[in-house]
């Protein structure tokens, strides 16, 4: 049974008036469906229901004004085993009670890492009541389903309002993948992973001469599982193009001081490439898509994951709606996310929801890379090192700054011709766009 309270719409807003009940006692309501309308002295709004179920009691009538947090209604939700079961306690699941030990701040010792007998129901539970990795309140049913199938909730795309994971999303994730898809990175208040992929370690590792043994950190394990899972999930293929970025190198050299003075961040090639890629993704939506269940999902927006390396390993913060941003905006977003990644300040919903990912090992010195797809994306783009090379232009040899840009892509979703055309589009954008105007200097 879930109790609905008068919400607080702001720190100084202390009461609200019920304008209208949109459901009456005895009526059924679905999660996220508007349940009632309120008016406060500042704003009005309709309020969605946090659960699916039947409205059993309306405690405050229309027209009444009550203080925030006052109980105003009761809903018998679908997932409660019996009327006496409260919201925080559902039908007996060993996983539900496990909240403290799964907290990410303690690196678990090898022996206690994952109790094997209850591995199947060790729910992916973050500390706190019913909160999933994106701080969305999840229904007990969703958590139980995910736990039963050994799924990491951080890797399941949510199609409910605000990205919430619904029962159908979990079922689709179960149907769609053989290996348990696991998150790339575990954020600080992270989701502990049910780990069928890692065998229980019977005894601690002993260091031999000249060896150092340290337990794998929580994040390291999550990265490991994601990478193996990714290779087991996607039919990975790889294509590469070579791009002439000579004009971009010159543009950056002459504009970088004015850019950083005007926009407060350094101008690197990554925002330029991100912008060019975002346009190409909108032109070739399959490459920006993903598989859910037996369906192919494409969208008209791009949330770009940008791989960032930091002290804990690898994390992929996400720039949402990057297709609507200009180069200075993207540069600022990248700088902000990277800084907060390194200082461990990213929020859960900033490391999820990517529709495509870019990795940029170039500055570290690579020429060519074969990246692993960030599930559940259809592709990942690698930008390697920019180098002056001899190239042929109009049948003569010239020296130009060139870069290899390659993409690992999932052959279940995308075929070779599409992947190649997409990369050709990225190349064309980079080689022909006039970025000078977009720099705003």
């Amino acid at each position: 049974m879930t109790t609905i309270q008068m919400p607080q719409l702001g720190e100084t807003i202390i009461e609200g008036t019920i304008l209208r009940w949109l459901k009456q006692e005895g009526e059924r309501i679905e999660r996220d469906e508007p349940l009632f309308e309120i008016s406060t002295d500042k704003v009005d709004t309709e309020v969605p229901s946090p659960v699916s179920g039947v409205v059993t009691k309306i405690l405050v009538p229309e027209g009444a004004t009550v203080a925030v947090k006052t109980d105003i209604a009761e809903i018998q939700d679908d997932d409660a085993g019996s009327p006496e079961a409260g919201t925080a306690v559902s039908a007996p699941e060993p996983g539900t009670a496990v909240s403290a030990p799964e907290a990410a701040d303690a690196a678990p010792s090898p022996a206690a890492a994952t109790p094997a007998p209850i591995a199947a129901s060790a729910a992916a539970t973050a500390p706190g009541p019913d909160r999933g990795p994106r701080s969305q309140i999840l229904s007990p049913l969703v958590r139980r389903l995910a736990a039963e199938h050994g799924l990491d909730l951080a890797a399941i795309a949510g199609t409910g309002t605000g990205g919430r994971i619904t029962k159908r999303d979990v079922e689709a994730a179960v149907a769609g993948s053989s290996a348990a898809p696991l998150s790339t990175a575990a954020p600080m208040n992270a989701v502990a992973v049910a780990a069928p992929a890692l065998a229980p370690i019977p005894s601690p590792t002993v260091a031999g001469a000249g060896e150092t043994v340290e337990p794998m950190s929580h994040i390291r394990k999550a990265i490991a599982q994601h990478m193996v899972g990714s290779l087991q999930t996607s039919a990975r293929a790889w294509t590469m193009v070579e791009v002439n970025v000579d004009h971009l190198v010159k543009l950056r050299t002459r504009s970088k001081d004015a850019f950083s003075e005007r926009h407060g961040v350094k101008l690197t090639y990554l925002p330029l490439i991100t912008r060019a890629t975002a346009e190409a993704l909108l032109a070739f939506p399959r490459v920006n898509g993903e598989i859910r269940g037996e369906d192919l999902v494409t969208r008209r927006f791009v949330n770009m994951g940008i791989a960032v390396s930091y002290d804990q390993g690898l994390i992929v913060p996400v720039i949402r709606g990057v297709d609507a941003m200009n180069v200075p905006g993207i540069a600022r977003a990248i700088a902000d996310l990277a800084e907060r990644a390194r200082s461990h300040q990213l929020k859960p919903d900033e490391v999820s929801g990517a529709t495509f990912t870019i990795t940029n090992p170039g500055p570290y010195g690579s020429l060519l890379s074969l990246p692993i797809i960030n599930q559940p994306n259809a592709g990942i783009l690698s930008i390697d090192g920019i180098q002056k090379r001899p190239v042929v232009i109009d049948d003569a040899i010239a020296i130009r700054s060139m870069v290899y840009i390659s993409m690992s892509w999932d052959h279940r979703i995308v075929d070779g011709e599409l992947a190649t055309r997409f990369l050709a589009r990225v190349k064309q954008n980079l080689e022909t766009w006039d970025f000078a105007e977009d720099l705003g200097v």
Binding site: P7, L9, G10, E11, T12, I13, L19, D32, P34, S39, T40, K42, V43, D44, T45, E46, V47, P48, S135, T161, G162, G163, R299, R300, F301, N303, R320, G321, D323, A324, M325, N326, P328, G329, R332, A333, G353
Partner: protein, 220 residues
């Protein structure tokens, strides 16, 4: 842009913002003469009858915003920020931020305005209102409606209503206060810039779908 067309498009944009299909967006525009009645409007707040208002050439719309009646028309810069306030919204802070945007924008042209916390949300000069602010939330998190700044609005329109239900108070405009013609065109970039500052946002290109709905005057 006609009020009902803009209102419908704004709601649609807010729905898309809720589903993370659109970014936070600012829409700046002007309306042809229209009186809008919010949820707290009372008949005695309308001096003219609805028929009289229409006879004068204004439309009348009853809408889901809070507050009482207000007027929109040529010479008034109307702004609809469609912003996701997040899972723990602070609507009071959002309103104060909108007030801040307007106060700073007016200061940029040398006009000093202030809040009247004890009276009502909005931006004032002494007892006269320069900018009306009215907001609604969608699903408790995405903002709808916004603000309306009198730049060189014909203030006689306000005779048709007891603006926002405040009987003893008047209205004025930036032009009156600055003693020169302050146009919507002049204020638009100032307001856009100050809003980005106060809300700590960066403007990107207008998404194609938004631009289509809000042509030709949309700025995002």
């Amino acid at each position: 842009m006609a009020y009902d067309v803009a209102n419908e498009a704004m709601h649609e944009l807010a729905e898309r913002r809720l589903r993370a299909e659109a970014p936070d967006t600012l829409i700046l525009l002007e309306h042809p003469p229209v009186f809008t009645a919010g949820r707290r409007s009372k008949p005695e707040h309308l001096v003219w009858s609805e028929d009289e208002a229409r006879a004068h050439g204004a439309e009348v719309h009853h809408i889901d915003r809070g507050g009482s009646f207000t007027f929109h028309g040529p010479g008034q810069l109307v702004g609809y920020p469609i912003v996701d306030l997040g899972a723990v919204p602070d609507a009071a802070r959002y309103l104060r931020s909108l007030e801040e945007v307007v106060i700073l924008s007016a200061a940029d042209i040398g006009v000093e305005l202030h809040r009247r916390d004890d009276v009502q949300t909005g931006v004032f000069h002494e007892d006269d209102k320069v900018c009306a602010i009215g907001v609604r939330l969608m699903r408790t998190r995405v903002t709808l409606h916004g603000f309306a700044i009198n730049c060189d609005t014909d203030l006689s329109w306000f005779g048709g209503i007891v603006a926002c239900g405040l009987a003893d108070n008047g209205v004025t405009s930036l032009s009156e206060l600055a003693d020169r013609d302050v146009t919507v065109q002049e204020m638009r970039p100032i307001v856009a810039r100050r809003l980005a500052e106060v809300f700590d946002l960066v403007y990107g290109a207008t998404p194609a779908t938004t631009a289509d709905r809000f042509r030709p005057v949309a700025v995002a």
